[in-house]
Symmetry: C2
Subunit: 239 residues, 2 copies
DNA sequence: ACGCTACGAGTTGTTCAACGATCTGGCAAC
DNA sequence: GTTGCCAGATCGTTGAACAACTCGTAGCGT
């Protein structure tokens, strides 16, 4: 079984083959979920798009049952929305959703700043910052966004709480839905490179107060920016 | 809701008929998940029990595919554990899991105490307290436990954050797995009736400090009690 | 007696085709 | 213009089938 046996004209399959890299040890449903997730966060599937089981399963070369498991995966992740007897569609975040996500983020990230951590635990933060600068050098703003998320997820990982980590993962996945409406990602993501680096500096120096204050500023600014961008772009379509 | 309107001869419903209330508007998979969840939290399926698809789907009268969707539902809820090519089994919590759950609970419940709330928002708390007393009068300790959970979930609902509420729901579902190892539920659940009522009192009086302090004491005590009970009962079987 | 290999039974992973249930959109009647 | 109804499209669920995998065990060599 190679990658995709069939590829009929749907327009999407080419991008899927690249997305569906061989995740060994993962089930088919998980691979399909990975592929769909990529399409969503890349903006190929915009919020509100309806995904018909027949068409998608055919174009991805998997059975409807497997596709349904992938749908359920992504629904629980918050990327898709499932309506009984009506199918699944790409979720669209409301302003209230964005605000709620940031509220939850504050809770988790402040807890992380307050958590005990040794020097080596900060390594992933540094790595994320590095990745961010590298992506910025290449003008790869999607990459900058990814690195930024990795930074904040690594931050929450300092709590060493699997459940908080998992929640953060969900929140960031949802946020990607909000990012796709950003028409100009550069001014949104670029300034945070500097912020992240300084937060990491303060943490390394053991100055939780300063780190927390910077983090608060960052969250405040990012939320406001996202909300205004969202309001201008997302108002016409409700739901 | 007295009788159940459904009564098709499928051979399943003996044990389920009580559990499988006809949730109109729910899919079969969701109903099956409800039934299984009930079996788990009632202790009929103890942690570590392996659930073979063939046997369970036959005894519940649904197809394997539908059962698998139910399994996935409960796996994401944390009640079941899925191992590739080995099937699902009832999850068993480790001491670390219990500690993690309580850590997360602290975060959420303290945030709830600090949240703005009006008088009417406290109504569900009062109702949960009432339900707890009523169940205690009937010596229904499982009912007391349920009321206690409803109290704390209602507490988190004060945040009016759908995501925090959802997280709390997950945490409490997992905690039920820890409860099933409690051999003597009465001394564990009964004292908290008083605590909950006093927390509600303080909240109503607007004294968040006192409410928070009581809550902290409660969480501390409950966690310690659960951990010791868990250690004595759950050590032999690891994983 | 011991350890390794290979085999086979049992279980899970995935696909397929089919049918009933439900939703959607358009047409006709009022 | 509203209402009721019908037909097509889509989802929900089933049952069977086969491939892939796990695990216990019998057989083999040393």
């Amino acid at each position: 079984m190679g990658a995709v046996p069939r590829e009929q004209g749907g327009g999407l399959p080419e991008r899927l083959s690249s997305a569906g890299r061989a995740l060994a040890g993962a089930s088919s449903a998980e691979r399909v979920a990975d592929a769909l997730r990529e399409l969503v966060v890349d903006g190929a599937l915009t919020p509100g798009t309806r995904l018909r089981e027949g068409a998608v399963s055919a174009s991805l070369g998997v059975s409807r049952n497997t596709l349904r498991e992938a749908f359920r995966l992504l629904t629980h992740e918050g990327l898709l929305r499932h309506e009984l007897h009506r199918g699944v569609l790409v979720r669209t975040l409301t302003a209230a959703d964005v605000a709620d996500v940031y509220r939850f983020r504050r809770l988790l990230e402040f807890a992380a700043v307050d958590a005990e951590h040794d020097r080596v635990a900060l390594q992933p933060l540094r790595s994320a910052v590095e990745g961010g600068w590298a992506a910025a050098r290449d003008e790869d703003w999607a990459g900058v966004a990814t690195a930024n998320m990795r930074f904040h997820r690594s931050l929450v990982a300092l709590t060493r709480s699997p459940r908080m980590d998992e929640s953060m993962r969900h929140l960031l996945a949802e946020l990607r839905l909000a990012f796709v409406v950003m028409t100009d990602p550069r001014p949104f993501h670029e300034p945070y490179l500097q912020d992240n680096e300084r937060i990491a500096d303060h943490l390394e120096a053991g100055d939780r107060g300063k780190a927390g204050r910077l983090l608060a500023e960052y969250l405040e600014r990012a939320e406001r920016q996202l909300l205004t961008a969202h309001r201008t772009a997302g108002e016409p379509g409700r739901r």
